[in-house]
């Protein structure tokens, strides 16, 4: 796949920058409906024969055929709605069944430790999938630092395991089958495969860490 245009700090390895860009892409598509320019950029994406590459190819094809107004309406039906949208993309809702529950409080606590706070003009609670994706993007390139977090949530892997891993797969599955999803079905596919790779990579990393002389309990 082709990298998007963002330039990252030179010290970070390339794969981290690419990971960050993919998290950023998910964040930007899930926070608001993409406009025509964004759709045109998405239409230029290409993918190799891996599952993720194929998902990006499908996303590019869908973006090329999509009408920006239809996508905006679809975004409204999915995430805004009258009363509520078809989906509630919040960690608290997926983990507990209710909005603004303890998972959000835990996340706010961790963000406070990390020194991350909600941007002015953003009104969604912090456990929205887009803000969590944005935080993951920042963690991947080192804009944010999760090493201060304790209780098994330290580092990028710990943050992911605590705040995203329990529900993100279920969320993208739901996004793929939501009645109004057309363009977002392709996004869900990318998100599902990408987060799955992330999850397995973090597990591999943890296993390698344990194997290489970590304490055996």
């Amino acid at each position: 796949m082709t990298a998007s245009t963002a330039q990252a700090a030179p010290a970070r390895p390339e794969h981290e920058v690419l990971r960050s860009q993919q998290w950023g892409l998910l964040a930007s598509l899930l926070v608001a409906a993409p406009d025509r320019d964004t759709l045109d950029l998405l239409a230029g994406l290409t993918g190799d024969e891996t599952a993720l590459g194929q998902a990006y190819a499908v996303l590019a094809r869908t973006a090329a055929e999509a009408d920006a107004e239809d996508v905006a309406r679809e975004f409204f039906e999915l995430f805004v709605g009258v009363g509520r949208g078809e989906l509630l993309p919040f960690a608290s809702f997926y983990i507990t069944g209710f909005l603004n529950e303890r998972p959000l409080a835990d996340l706010r606590h961790d963000l406070q430790l990390m020194g991350v706070e909600r941007a002015a003009g953003r009104f969604e609670p912090e456990d929205h999938i887009a803000s969590l994706s944005e935080i993951m993007a920042g963690l991947a390139v080192g804009d944010f630092d999760a090493s201060v977090l304790g209780c098994g949530a330290a580092g990028e892997a710990g943050f992911f395991a605590r705040h995203l891993a329990p529900w993100v797969g279920q969320f993208f599955d739901d996004l793929a089958v939501a009645p109004s999803a057309r363009f977002y079905r392709a996004v869900a596919e990318v998100g599902r495969i990408f987060t799955d790779i992330e999850m397995r990579a973090f597990e591999l990393e943890a296993a390698a860490h344990r194997g290489s002389g970590g304490r055996t309990v």
Partner: protein, 178 residues
């Protein structure tokens, strides 16, 4: 919201004052469905000391949202129109009895319920027939807690569960369509 405007002529009667300190007051006394070719304030008849003045013509606005009030009005022993005046000036003529009685609560105003001309009654009946929507009063009751029902919201809202306005006037298809 559909509405209809009728115009009515208002006649006022002024009786001689009952004592030397009181002054003459013109009170609305009758309504005419046909508007006479007269100036506002013109003296129409004088029978002894009792004078009848023409108080001008005034609009009666029928609103489709208040058809149930008009039905109550027409079902009364004497269907009426409420005329509310500030001094000699007619401020409001209404077919809605509740609006009329609300105006009557102000002691500064002169409010009279006058017999509705049959022609006006017929037009109000036609308006009701065209625009009335029957709304049944639904008394809400507390439902006991049922633990079989999962209080958590659904993860995915299906099309059938989305909010659509199906009851009330706004739920009807627009007039003139189809």
């Amino acid at each position: 919201m559909p509405r209809e405007v009728l115009r009515l002529a208002v006649l006022g009667v002024s009786h001689p004052p009952a004592n030397v300190w009181a002054r003459r007051v013109v009170r609305p006394a009758a309504l005419m469905a046909e508007i006479p070719p007269l100036e506002r304030g013109a003296l129409m008849t004088e029978q002894g000391e009792v004078r009848t003045y023409y108080m001008g013509d005034h609009a009666v606005v029928l609103h489709s949202g208040e058809t149930s009030h008009y039905i109550d009005n027409l079902r009364a022993a004497r269907p009426s129109l409420w005329v509310s005046c500030d001094g000699d000036t007619v401020r409001l003529v209404t077919a809605d009895p509740y609006e009329g009685e609300a105006m009557a609560s102000d002691p500064e105003r002169i409010v009279e319920a006058l017999a509705m001309p049959p022609a006006v009654a017929a037009r109000i009946e036609a308006f009701i027939a065209a625009h009335h929507v029957e709304e049944v009063f639904h008394k809400r009751k507390r439902v006991p807690v049922n633990m079989d029902h999962d209080p958590r919201a659904k993860r995915i809202l299906t099309d059938g569960e989305k909010w659509v306005q199906s009851r009330g006037k706004a739920g009807l298809p627009p007039k003139g369509g189809e």
